[in-house]
Amino acid sequence: MKIINKLFFSSALLAFSLSVCAEVVVVVHPSVRDNSINQDDVAKLFLGKISKLPSGHKVIAIDQEEDSQTRNIFYEEVTGKNQSQLTAYWARLVFSGKGQPPKTVMEDDEVKELVANNPSIIGYMDKSLVDTSVKVVFIIK
């Protein structure tokens, strides 16, 4: 192959792989009635502003650890806030005694396990790891 072809091919491959980074979804237990929730509600749930799904079902949000790529993508896309802004947001609530940030679990697998076994939990995870044990209610594009 000519060098120019090789270059084109490898850069196309690179671009393709970059665009195919983790696709993040929000998941709940399969028994939950809601089939989908909008971005506004997802943001409100994970920022502690509401604690119920549109159907009225109570849920507790869980986070992945701060250095998780899935977590960063989730918050940037859904709330527009980076980790520092998120910390400032929660600090204002924590230190005025009005709330606590979601508990953190380590990564996608743990989120899936917890959500699959607990109808009250809502979390976000990598789309590629989704199976029938959880129900997807929101997809981040």
């Binding site: 506004d40 409100k44 502003k49 509401i50 604690s51 119920k52 109570k58 701060e66 709330t79 527009g80 806030k81 980076n82 980790q83 520092s84 802004q85 998120l86 910390t87 400032a88 600090a91 204002r92 924590v94 230190f95 005025s96 005694g97 009005k98 606590q100 508990k103 679990v105 380590m106 697998d109 743990e110 396990e113 917890l114 076994n117 607990n118």
Partner: protein
């Protein structure tokens, strides 16, 4: 000829047999490897499952009922004159001091049972010799999804950041705008309620409160055991938040010359707007202190802050203005000159915030005060005789590092 054919056939058979054996050998190897890998996966699966069940237990365990968080600010501050704010809270020297803006706080949140929790927050401030003070100590009861009632020692939710005045990480500046933010009276003993509700895409929170407070008013007078009644309201829609708040304080003063004065009823009103889309931050608040005329003055103040985030940097600019609304009676002016004398001031603040980590930030800021018109503005007079000697329109420079955990 026949020998050759036999030899070829034998060779062929041997090769095939050899190949098959070799194939069989490598298949067996592969099978073995697959079994080994399956075992490894099962093992790591078990480990993960165990980790998750421990986590689930921990979520309900007593050990997880206590949450400890904290905040710290280390600051180096210098003004170009020795000045103190009228409420006596903040003193700035014309050389670098580390006590003015340094402070640390620790908070304990304990989940008692069901919907009850206890919170304790202790802070030590460099400007108060690091004496630990309990700023928050309350019991909280979540009666309903939408209603939480708290009782104990709380902080007055007057302005946007009034409840977290000491947590530098929560606001964009090195310190809340001097002259606008009331920092001398902040704690009260009493009760409040947090009422949240939604109307369509809007989320609202109402916070009524009642109690007794003490401390120095912004004008320097002591407010001891004053009854307070107030209401704060916040409503947000996507990136926009509106805030309204009102408080009523009943104050009693005595004076040597005038004796016991009738109870003064002060009203503070404020409105604020905040727009934050992650890159651009626009923050503005307006406040009005409405004394019943005397001895305190009526004051109007407002500020506007613009901040823009680019990567880890956030430069900001803030403009503040305050002035007295009307003058007090001359008798009161003479007796309570500190509190009653008219004042006016403007300030222009320029600063930049740098994100060292997601929970540590560095801010460098210059707060320039001007347009006092001979009134002394935000500073306390260095002399109480008439004519009063006021310091210059000093500027404050600071470098602060804020952290939360």
């Amino acid at each position: 000829m026949q020998h050759k054919r036999l030899a070829v056939n034998l060779l062929l058979a041997a090769t095939v047999a050899g190949a098959t054996t070799a194939q069989a050998a490598s298949t067996a190897e592969l099978e073995e490897r697959i079994i080994k890998l399956e075992q490894q996966i099962k093992k790591s699966d078990r480990v993960t499952k165990k980790r998750i069940s421990t986590l689930k237990n921990a979520m309900e365990n007593a050990e997880n009922r206590l949450r400890i968080s904290g905040f710290m600010t280390l600051g180096a501050t210098k003004a170009d004159d020795n000045v103190t704010t009228q409420d006596g809270e903040n003193s700035f020297a014309d050389e670098f001091t580390y006590r003015t803006d340094s402070r640390a706080g620790l908070q304990f949140d304990y989940q008692l049972k069901d919907n009850w929790s206890a919170t304790l927050q202790i802070t030590g401030k460099g400007r108060n010799d690091w004496d630990p003070t309990i700023d928050w100590a309350f019991l909280s009861w979540q009666a309903q999804d939408w209603l939480t009632v708290r009782g104990g020692r709380l902080r007055i939710p007057l302005f946007n950041y009034s409840e977290t005045l000491d947590v530098g990480y929560t606001y964009p500046w090195s310190r809340p705008p001097v002259g606008f933010y009331i920092t001398s009276v902040s704690n009260y003993e009493g009760f409040d309620a947090l009422i949240s509700f939604e109307t369509g895409p809007l989320v609202h929170q109402l916070q009524p409160y009642i109690g007794a407070s003490e401390g120095k008013l912004p004008n320097g007078l002591d407010a001891v055991g004053s009854d307070i009644y107030g209401l704060s309201y916040e409503s947000s829609w996507q990136n926009l938040t509106l805030r309204l708040s009102a408080i009523q304080l009943d104050l009693d003063f005595t004076s040597v010359t005038l004796g016991l004065l009738p109870t003064e009823r002060d009203h503070f009103y404020s409105a604020g707007l905040r727009y934050d889309n992650g890159s651009l931050l626009v923050l503005s608040e307006y406040s009005r202190i409405d004394g019943s005329g005397y001895p305190s003055r009526d004051l109007e103040s407002a500020y506007l802050t613009l901040a823009y985030t680019v990567g880890k940097w956030q430069p900001y600019y803030s403009y503040m203005a305050l002035n007295t609304l009307h003058e007090s009676d001359i008798n009161f002016l003479l007796v309570f000159s500190k509190a009653a004398a008219p004042i006016q001031a403007k300030s222009s603040t320029l600063g930049v915030r740098y994100e060292i980590a997601s929970n540590i930030s560095l801010k460098i800021q210059g707060e320039h005060f001007y347009d006092f018109d001979g009134t002394g503005g935000v500073w306390a007079a260095s002399s109480d005789t008439i004519p009063r000697i006021f310091p210059d329109e000093a500027d404050i420079y600071s470098l602060t590092v804020d952290a939360v955990f």
